[in-house]
Symmetry: D2
Subunit: 364 residues, 4 copies
């Protein structure tokens, strides 16, 4: 497959550039019979939408999604769900100065190196705007997962901003419901930390600079047995999905790098409980052992770099190989993290939905 598709059974293909007529995608493999709540779906897009607070880019997009197929009388039919999201506030003219210029730490140069042709308007396909289609698909994955276990606790995925630059949550990773996370514009569930993070972001924004940080995502109630050994380990697929988001620089599972300082006798998670309710007393494994979920919380931490687009002058070169000064213009986020929270959730939801279906082939 070319590179715009993810998933084996629950499979998303996306298309669209930042300043073309529309973004969109096709979500194929959704089983028939899933009830689709369009309002909840749209609400997830609002969480990713630009312009939602003074912490984000000023670009105004309603990000209204239209489902073109695959849903009939409120339920999925088993056929592919095609959808589009129009680009309404595209201002390609804002980017004409970028034609032939290579923004530092952006994809401008590498796209030229690869393709020899480039849509320079706002980064074209390399813009984070592309992730809107992922959020649509992730929202459908969420509704599918919720309906998988009508009786029992359904798999749930929650992410939040754990750290902005050096300002960090004082508590270890945990699951927080959306309401708690969205109580603050920065999407950190701890009020005091959130306040400090927001102040920092507004501060660097004033100077035209940017900051990064970390996001924690936790998946609850994933039943034991999801994930394929060897190459398609559950955490390998999660890693690929998460590293495909823009600006990711690091990923940890469970105890992460700090776990590598421990001895085996300290790090091992002791099993306890009875058949049918086997648990571990600690969760250094982060919910996955041998690539397969063990029923504990799946806990991942992602590091995001500071946004590459600055509103200050930067030295760079252009396509002709001349030294130039790039002046900061356009509409950009001083910190990607608040809007990255729904993207991170979407990627985890897509991987879980895929492995939920793959698991159906595990046994005779």
């Amino acid at each position: 497959m070319p590179g715009n598709t993810i998933g084996e059974r629950f499979q998303l293909t996306t298309f669209g550039e930042s300043h073309g007529p529309a973004l969109g995608g096709v979500l194929d493999g959704v089983p028939a019979g899933v009830s689709i709540n369009l309002e909840r779906l749209q609400a997830e897009l609002q969480r990713r939408r630009p312009g939602q607070s003074n912490l984000t880019t000023a670009r105004k997009e309603s990000d209204q999604v239209t489902l073109l197929s695959g849903v009939f009388e409120g339920r999925t039919t088993g056929t592919p769900i095609g959808f589009t999201i129009p680009n309404r506030d595209a201002k390609p003219g804002d980017y004409s100065h970028l034609e032939g210029q290579y923004r530092p730490s952006h994809a401008d140069y590498t796209y030229d190196a690869k393709y020899g042709v480039r849509d320079h308007r706002g980064g074209g396909r390399s813009s984070a705007r592309e992730t809107a289609a992922r959020v649509v698909a992730g929202a459908i994955a969420r509704q599918f997962l919720e309906q998988l276990y009508p009786q029992g606790p359904a798999p749930a995925v929650g992410a939040y901003v754990e750290r902005v630059q050096d300002i960090a949550m004082p508590t270890p990773p945990a699951f927080y419901p959306t309401e708690a996370v969205d109580a603050h514009a920065v999407r950190c569930p701890d009020a005091e930390t959130a306040r400090r993070m927001e102040a920092r972001i507004l501060d660097v924004k004033k100077s035209g600079d940017t900051v990064g940080g970390s996001i924690v995502v936790v998946a609850q109630n994933v039943p034991p047995g999801w994930g394929e050994p060897v190459f398609d380990k559950l955490h390998a697929d999660l890693a690929k999905a998460l590293w495909s988001l823009p600006a990711v620089k690091g990923l940890e599972l469970g105890s992460g790098f700090s776990g590598t300082l421990m001895k085996g006798s300290e790090h091992n998670d002791t099993f306890t409980g009875k058949t049918g309710s086997i648990r571990t007393t600690t969760n250094h494994s982060g919910g996955i052992q041998g690539g397969i979920s063990n029923g504990e919380d799946i806990v991942l931490r992602l590091g995001f770099k500071p946004v590459a687009t600055l509103l200050t002058d930067q030295a760079t070169v252009n396509q002709a190989g001349e030294d130039i000064t790039l002046s900061g213009r356009g509409r950009h986020d001083p910190c990607v993290l608040p809007r990255a929270v729904p993207m991170v959730e979407a990627m985890v939801l897509l991987v879980l939905a895929d492995h939920a279906l793959r698991q159906r082939s595990a046994r005779l």
Copy 2:
């Protein structure tokens, strides 16, 4: 695809259990005309072989690979390369006590949860022994990449042990040739650090305990333009490939988590140079921008947890849900890192070979 295949164009499928008759694989998509040096191929397997030093498991395996197809008169023919590696020192009897027992932080419980059937002998398919097949394929990928650029510097991949528990290299990530890395049994190229690491490993081995640490892998001379935007970003595919190795807990690209503490103005890599030789003055990006290689060194750091198998007693449960004490037996590594070095290189080589071929479709 089921979960035992990796790669789109340069594609490896593996099979085999730790104590079955043989491991093996099929490497499909190798272009015709690659000269295969079997001695070099076997030499890469020796680096992964158990029993190579007192730092590793005592299991004795010659790990002699047999190529069954796809190579004719010393060159690849474009047809799939099937290969096998016999298990000669399998001692399934050593593991009979594990039938129905769940070793802490191993895949025993999750395999049962998934499949309801399990080959308990030495972990079966979940054993790191499975990675021997990856090293075979990685060695062929290396020879392919070397022959891609007969004139120019060919892509080269080198990994080394950067840290064992808290004993770390004093210098930042860099490319080291195999000779420098293999000069010490622990595969750390710094003599003094290597000496301390080896002492630490022998120390924990004495107490039946284990340690982890980190490995750095650097890919040199990767031309600009490899990698697919969006889901199959070069680093997303590298992430999946590397997270599919046993015991991985963390991954960083370029500046990694420490880069998330910087401001954008500090973190951006400035472009310099002329068309055809554009470079960056720093490499926080780790050689990849927007998912596509930019010609700089690709720099990744992996964290490995301490080996889960201990030679001491551990509390756990069995399949019947009874509390039991697991006694430490069998042959295992006190530290996985020295033998993980060739595995890490293999995974990076496989991803690069795959993207080298995918890149051939990028332009008319």
Copy 3:
């Protein structure tokens, strides 16, 4: 992958139902730098459009395609081409009588058996309307193939109606240019045969009945070497692509079933010519040997059944398992063949474009 995607490197995913808001698709893997002529693209859709003559359904659709991404300033950028075709003349009310009824030899019953949920409006996803998206992608494949060989004769694909029921072309399969084929509404290039075919179709149309027949498709100027041995033989991929069209009942390559009556000494194609221009004196092989093109014309014949929708009463059962009489209503083609010609070309073009790219990995 779920079932709505075709191709490995030049890959089409489609979506859409007959009476939903729109059809569409994503064509991924088109190399950067292909000039796209939108007028020619739209012209190919007109050939498939309903209502183009009195031989076809009365449904009126302009079938105007909108490209949403992947083309910038007239050329492909290497990113996926998303596109939509609105359903303007959808009359879902015309089909309300079909809710819960199973039309004979249609997909109504099998969709219910598979999914338990069904969009009954005009066949939903099972409608031949879905093929409009294939024609869009095939048209882009054609332009890609034409630009692959700027100097030389480019691969060209031409199909035509060879037979309607028992009225057949008097001459063996050959390549006919579009102008010759489209000179007659029935898309048979022989004037006298075309006249008789058209009379037959109008005749059965009057009685509310339908007819089938055969289409021949020929691909010229395909260079030797395209196709993968074993499972992805060029003709195996062509077979899958063509059998995925609605109403196909038979397929022949080269000499087809009549070749199975010959002896090997009669059937073998003798090689002749010099290195670089090796040809065969006959073409019983139909241009493919061992799954790989040999440079001769690729010649295929498809049999299409008579359209299943009749405008007469038919006995059948409904979802409740009751015997009912289905009355003929709606707008349908009395013979699918004239409109199937561009669909057949599209499928062959897509397979050729895919193998053109796959061939780029064949050699070091």
Copy 4:
């Protein structure tokens, strides 16, 4: 994927050349818990084995398969099944005269055109010997399908030789059990027709010539609902699988080409019966409607060309482009059909097993 893999969920990858050390494959995706009867598996290979009668090649191969993984204590474990079949009677020296020669209607020329490198020994990878691996996998698919429905009638697949050149069965396609088919060396279940076929084959064998014909394959007890609409229609996947066999020239489903002579009112299959036991009164559809099984017998007919290798002299060219005379040597079948019967069954079984698993994702 490169071209040596088939199937999405039940996935076979094969390797091996006619005169290399061994053939083999990896069958991945077999669910855990399938009991494997090795004797029955080996018995299926015997049906494909060369040298089994005077109608086939004189090459002597025991074709003993070794399973290397994925089966533990008689049951599948969910991990990939690797297997090998040694080439014991390889006589590569018999083929040295073929180095650089292009046998008419063989793959010698096209392999050279594609790869520029070629294993000329007995056709290398293009030899029908490659199909032994398919038969192994098909035999496992058969056992899986049989165990899917412990209560009910399990899917069963039976093929037979319907016609050799112009000598044909007097009766329409039907399901025949293996015993009836194997009662005659030619694998035609009608005694009188079988006798005449065998005489014809021995007759052409005497003159060094070859013949083709047709094989019918019928799948019984396939439940309604298998198959994916649009590109992965059940018959499209069957078509690809069957056209990937050597020497196929034509394929028909159900009424086939003769159905294209009928009117819709004659061809439509009338539904009858009650919910849960809906059937059709005729089976022109061949058991598949809209790409999905409808519960009736799946009926396919394949045409096979006469074997291209003759034991007489033939004019051809060599790699240097010189006109030469190819003298007939080596060991070959005068008629491929008797040995193709198990190959055809294997391909149908593999596709059915794959769609059995894919169907598990169809509904919430």
